[in-house]
Symmetry: D2
Subunit: 138 residues, 4 copies
């Protein structure tokens, strides 16, 4: 078990490690992940790159949905829309995600990202629910 990558068991999460993403919680269709804002994550304007905020939402949604799937089913992102409220320059970002609606083959999730000063971004996404690898019909 790799505590840095709880949502995928023993599998490594190279990109998550590259940006310092960690999961605080996952279960029951919800998750909370976080990362520290460091200089290597900045964009040319000297603020946190928007793709890092996006990474929290995308990964957090995946963790929330995986926690709601049984029998070896897994998921993949179909689309995500993210909206930014303000730039971030330092501190810690926390992202809370949850499954809002879960069908047989598709799920809809939402994420809220905040730092110590309040809300930073909101995201919503569609994920495809996939049958276990190797199963008939997958």
């Amino acid at each position: 078990m790799n505590d840095q990558n709880p949502i995928h068991g023993a599998h490594a999460n190279p990109f998550g490690e590259l940006i310092g993403l960690r999961f605080d919680y996952w279960g029951n269709g919800e998750s909370r992940c976080a990362l520290d804002v460091t200089p290597k994550l900045m964009n040319p304007n000297g603020v946190l790159h928007g793709a890092v905020v996006y990474a929290l939402a995308d990964t957090g949604m995946g963790g929330a949905l995986i926690s709601a799937l049984d029998g070896g089913r897994y998921c993949t992102t179909v689309e995500i829309k993210i909206t930014y409220f303000r730039p971030v320059v330092s501190g810690q970002l926390v992202c809370e995600s949850r499954v809002v609606h879960q069908g047989k083959r598709l799920a809809f999730l939402e994420s809220s990202v905040r730092d110590g000063d309040g809300p930073v971004a909101r995201a919503s996404g569609t994920f495809a629910i996939l049958e276990p690898r190797g199963s008939v019909g997958s």
Copy 2:
């Protein structure tokens, strides 16, 4: 002049460098940026993390829009929606972005991301156009 970061002149782009993003072209409201798919950019499923594809679109749109702004104006991402067509495991990703509509304070852009096998993702976004730092009213 920093050729690795053409869209922002001499400013560094730490996150862009972290993931190996480079600009091939920018000008007239268009841009083309690219990166090589490397092991450190993978997600736990062993495919390229979606946030890396997103980073190309977000940064590429910013570059395309900056190239269409004069007088020191700059821009920031309001929202982006990205849709993924298939997973990527290796090779080079290329992202072409363009300004589809430019107003006084908002612009709408689209990006297409492809690898050697064809289309990988599409994104569309709203950017805010900002007056030069230090100008009256900004």
Copy 3:
């Protein structure tokens, strides 16, 4: 005062009337609007046309935001993403909208649409906040 169109005072709302949209509440950056599912609102598949659900979200967000603006400021939709959970064939649809984040020139809103059986759709949108008509700079 036109009770069928509370958010815009005495102005008529022809399209809202065409589809039977009514406001139950608006104030403090929130709104609730509704309509009855009638045969003329159906699509060729015999279910409610998705644009009618969208109309609730778009109009509801506008009402929620207008209720949070003072001094004659008004608003216009920049973009909305709507996600559908299931088809609707009869009954009443209710849409609750709220301002999630309000800046000087842009606001971010979310809407939830439900019928008697539960959630039907979710939407999120960016609105531009406009200065009063005729004001300097508008």
Copy 4:
């Protein structure tokens, strides 16, 4: 055969008729539909209601995708994002839609809406591809 409702054969399209939507073309994963801007389609600001523009995109995408499906398969909207460039007060709106990517169960489409003065809006959407009604597994 109902030429006013080509995408759905002999089935009626009540909402499409309510707003005056007509198809000019559909085939090979593309479609073009249109409507005349009339007083009953206005919002309280005296401009065309955004839901009418959305209706063109949603219906147009559905028509484009249906034209690319064989064997009785049909489709339903999962999500659409629409972005508005400017208000419309009169004239005719034309919407061109196309399938950008088609998978086994999901398709991605884009629409452009214009009037006589140029671009009015852009939309992109995810549609679910459904097996024929009554088929095993549907």
